[in-house]
Structures are given as C-alpha cells and as structure tokens.
Symmetry: C2
Subunit: 122 residues, 2 copies
C-alpha cells in the first residue's frame, strides 16, 4: 500500500498515529510494558513493581493496552480469582522503538542537562 501522510500529518492532533502513540507512551503504559516484557505478572505484582501507580490508573492502563492488542489478560478461575497479564507478539514489537528512545536518553541526557544549566544561568 502507499504511505501518503507526512510525519507532521501523522502527528497532528486527532490523527490515529498520534492517538496510538499517546496510548502507548504514557507514564504507566511504558512501565507496564517493560515489566511484562520480562515476565507475565498479576495485577498486584504490577502494583508492587510500579510503586507510584494507583489501582484505578493501573486498571485503566491495562484495559487500554489490552484493547490495543498490546497485552493479553487471562483469568484463572481459582478462588479467589487470579488474573495474569502478558505481553502479546504485537506488544513485543513495541520494545524495539521504545528501547531506541531509552538509548537516546542514555546517550544524550548529560548533554541535555548541560544545556539546562546554561539556560538557567541566563
């Protein structure tokens, strides 16, 4: 198929590309993703692994990721119920670009902080 949209157009407010990025790059989603890439985890495992998240936000994050096909949710009918979240094959493809971002911050954070110091002096 043909790719007609420019990068700027794909990033416009309301564009599907931009919306998808917002649902995948937010604070909690990225952390959930990193953890599930290591190993599947249950709801409260994730809560403990991500200290600052509230139950409400974690639920919303997991639902959104599940809806987008990034994570899978399986209910294990023990009593009490257990629920396991796992990364999907689609979710795994996200790791590469996200890690590229992390690599960028690692490579350039010092340079950014130097720029901040210069800016704050003036």
């Amino acid at each position: 198929m043909t790719e007609t949209a420019t990068p700027a157009e794909r990033l416009a407010v309301g564009a599907p590309h931009r919306e998808l990025l917002e649902q995948v790059l937010d604070t909690w989603s990225m952390q959930v993703l990193e953890h599930l890439c290591e190993a599947p985890a249950r709801f409260n495992d994730l809560r403990r692994a991500i200290p600052a998240v509230t139950a409400k936000s974690l639920t919303a994050t997991l639902r959104r990721l599940e809806r987008n096909g990034i994570v899978g949710r399986s209910v294990i009918s023990t009593r009490p119920v257990a629920v396991e979240y796992a990364i999907t094959p689609l979710g795994k493809t996200l790791r590469e670009p996200v890690d590229a971002l992390l690599a960028w911050t690692s490579a350039h954070l010092a340079e950014v902080e130097a720029a901040r110091d210069r800016f704050d002096d003036a």
Copy 2:
C-alpha cells in the same frame, strides 16, 4: 561510564530519563520538532503549521525545547522584532528514535485497529 539502571528504573516516575521523554514526546513538541527538522521557522509560522496549538502552549513548548538544547532561538532585531527557531544538532539526534516510533505505528496501526474491533465486540 557504566549504565546501571534497568529500563524499568529509567522509566520510573521522577527518573531523569522519564522526565526528559515527557518533555520531548508530548503532542506539541513532536510536531514542532518535525516542522523545524524541515526548515527553521518563526513563531507564527509554527502557529499556522500546527493549527490546534495556542500561543500560550506554543511558547511553553518552545521554551522547554530551548532549555533542553533541542531547539535554538535567535532574535533578529528588525522592527517589529523577528524570532527564528531552528533545530540544534542535539535536536537532530532525536529524529531517528522518533521516526522509529512513527514507523512502528505505520507498520502496526491496522493490527491495533483489528484488536480494538475484537475488544469492542466483547
């Protein structure tokens, strides 16, 4: 130097890596970046190029990018004053990981939308 932090640690709330990503991946910053990568531009050029942005938000975005060393700001003392914004060498290094993100959405948006349809049926 040694890199000790895990990806999850770098993404934790309050971590410098995460803060930097937030200041660089937000709605307006990404669009400003894309436009300045094409060519330097003046304040009102950017306003026109990014229809949904308000003057207040654009100012805040440009200040933050300037502080982080991602864009440069030069005042041209004509009357009335002209101000030109341009991408810096550091800013240019951001393009690669950001484009990787865009490439990911292009490659997988259809698959995501299929997952959404499935989810919304249930």
